[in-house]
Amino acid sequence: MGYFVELVVSGLAIGAIYGLVAMSFAVIYKATGIVNFSQGELGMLTAYTSWSIATTLGAGGIATVLIAVVAGAVIGMLCERLIMRPMLGEPVLSVVLVTIGLAVVLRSIVTIGWGAAPHKFEVAGVDAVLDIGGMGMRVSQLGVIAMLAAALAGFWWFLKYSRFGVAMRAVAADENVARLMGISTARVQSVAWACASALAGLAGVFFAVIYGLSPTIYELGLKAFPATVLGGFDSVLGSGVSGLVIGVLENLVGGYLPSTLKEVAGFFLILVVLMVRPFGLFGEKRIERV
């Protein structure tokens, strides 16, 4: 029983990281209707940038989180402005393929810039182990779960009550009508990219702090994909929660079944889910009329 609880708890910690990335997928999908395949790479670039800044400044835990948010937002806005903005109004397929191109470029830039060797992301105090009901958990693991909770609450408020969140939903519902109502699609897209990149950046930084910084962080994008699909692409909150589900599932599979299955457990799950509910658990069912 103790083993099971341990697997679930450490699954929640990694699941919270997946959840943050999954939310970032959903934010961009919600605002622009495209799936950004470079999400993991944006998170990786942000993690490396934050590492460079944080180690030169010797930043503590909270300062590192702030650096990650700001760096992520700036990187996201830059990518949107330089690569995605010119593609506004092009067919969805083209735009999605551009994000694939962007992913490949970002991945290589990070490897060229920072080298392929792994680094240690050291932040003072986060390795301390807290004792919670007989379970040892690191501060960083608790921190990422708290971060996901904060992000979920923040986005729930943002999408429901803030002016910009409502504008974002309007663009997602019908881009042309939203434009007729005076909403700038380009600005919504820009903010969405900044938010998404900041979320992915947070995930990347937490992953780097807990497991070490290496060019394989981009795989977070692939690992979080099942979570986004499970939750539904147009459901930001659903994706975040599904991240936890995928994290726990993966850890349980890794604990009780052969370890190679761990890597693909999430993919198996979404194959099943997609067959039954192609729009995800919390996604909106779109009705096509002919």
């Binding site: 092009e90 694939i100 191109g101 060229i112 099942p226 190679t260 993919f267 979404i270 997609l274 192609p278």
Partner: protein, 348 residues
């Protein structure tokens, strides 16, 4: 002056080419390719061989993504299945190479049918995700396969004797690749103009309209997956013979991206596009390396230390640039040049 071409009979519509010039140039190109091993040095010969088997794989993806409009991010999965089917057939089951080559088309085709089933319910991006999941599952399964699949170490395959011809020399292998490549080109060209090919294009352009016109979506989507997987699997077997070892590492996810880059850069949905794209994408890193080594200095150092990264940056930039500036790809540019040549000094 010509005022246009008017096709009046059905046969004229489906003919491969009605131009004598095209026929003549095709013969010249084919003769040049046939005689190439006599002229080219070992490095260039290897380069052309790589182009040939890459083209077979690109044609496989063209059938699925170019003709039918079903995006696949998991074609490396079919490539792996083809390579492993061949390697396992030859080394573990002791099949003759000819049969193993057939297996390298058959096994992926079977899996293509399975992967095709979700495509009946899923559209666009969701399908792309399913195929992505498929390729990850394939590589995980091959890694978990123990002795039978060679797990992490892979399987060594020697160049075979096929139909009594020894393929161990580079020249013989080149001719084998050329033959397979010509076969693949002919298959896709003829598929495109047949009833099946036009049904596939109809599904790509508007699946609901296609269904109204009597195209059976279930049958043709599955058929597209089947044909595409079979062609890609053969490319995988050729690749296995070329690099003479089959392991999961030799089929990275980047190959799926490279295949997409090829058909986008060349021009989606055409065989000529696939050919142009393959030549462009495969040659680009080599040309770039030659240019930078000529310039010397830091750029050349970078090229030698991180050649792999530079290569993928180039793929990425090529995808972005073509989608941004000319989504019709190299084929579109070629059309423009031809038009300009024919109609000069008029614009149309």
């Amino acid at each position: 002056m010509k005022s246009g071409f008017f096709k009046q009979r059905y046969a004229e519509l489906v003919v491969l080419t009605d131009s004598r010039a095209v026929k003549a140039w095709t013969v010249v190109l084919f003769a040049a390719l046939l005689l190439a091993p006599m002229v080219l040095g070992p490095f260039l010969l290897a380069h052309v061989t790589v182009i040939l088997f890459t083209l077979v794989g690109a044609l496989g993806l063209t059938v699925l993504t170019g003709f039918t409009g079903l995006i696949s991010l998991g074609h490396v999965g079919f490539l792996m299945l083809g390579a492993y089917a061949y390697a396992i057939g030859v080394t573990r089951l002791g099949l003759p190479p000819e049969l193993a080559l057939l297996a390298s088309a058959g096994v992926p085709a079977l899996f293509g049918l399975v992967v095709g089933v979700p495509s009946l319910r899923l559209h666009g991006l969701y399908l792309a995700i399913t195929t992505l999941a498929f390729s990850h599952i394939v590589s995980a399964a091959l890694l978990a396969g123990g002795k039978f699949t060679g797990a992490g170490r892979g399987i060594t395959v020697l160049r075979p004797r096929m139909l009594g011809i020894d393929l161990s020399s580079d020249r013989a292998f080149y001719w084998f690749c050329l033959a397979m490549c010509v076969l693949a080109v002919l298959v896709t060209l003829n598929l495109r103009r047949s009833y099946v090919g036009r049904a596939l294009v109809a599904i790509r352009d508007n699946d609901i309209a296609a269904r109204t016109m009597g195209v059976n979506l279930v049958r043709y989507k599955l058929l597209a997956f089947l044909i595409s997987a079979a062609i890609t699997g053969v490319a995988g077997a050729m690749m296995a013979m070329y690099i003479s070892i089959v392991s999961v590492e030799s089929f990275p996810f980047l190959l799926s991206i490279e295949a997409l880059a090829i058909i986008i850069v060349g021009g989606l949905g055409s065989v000529l596009g696939a050919v142009l794209g393959t030549v462009f994408i495969v040659s680009m890193p080599e040309v770039f390396a030659a240019l930078t080594s000529g310039m010397g200095g830091r750029l050349a150092d970078l090229m030698t230390t991180s050649a792999h990264e530079i290569k993928s940056v180039l793929y990425g930039l090529a995808i972005i640039a073509f989608l941004r500036f000319d989504p019709r790809g190299l084929r579109g540019i070629w059309h423009d040049i031809r038009h300009a040549w024919v109609y000069w000094p008029l614009r149309y």
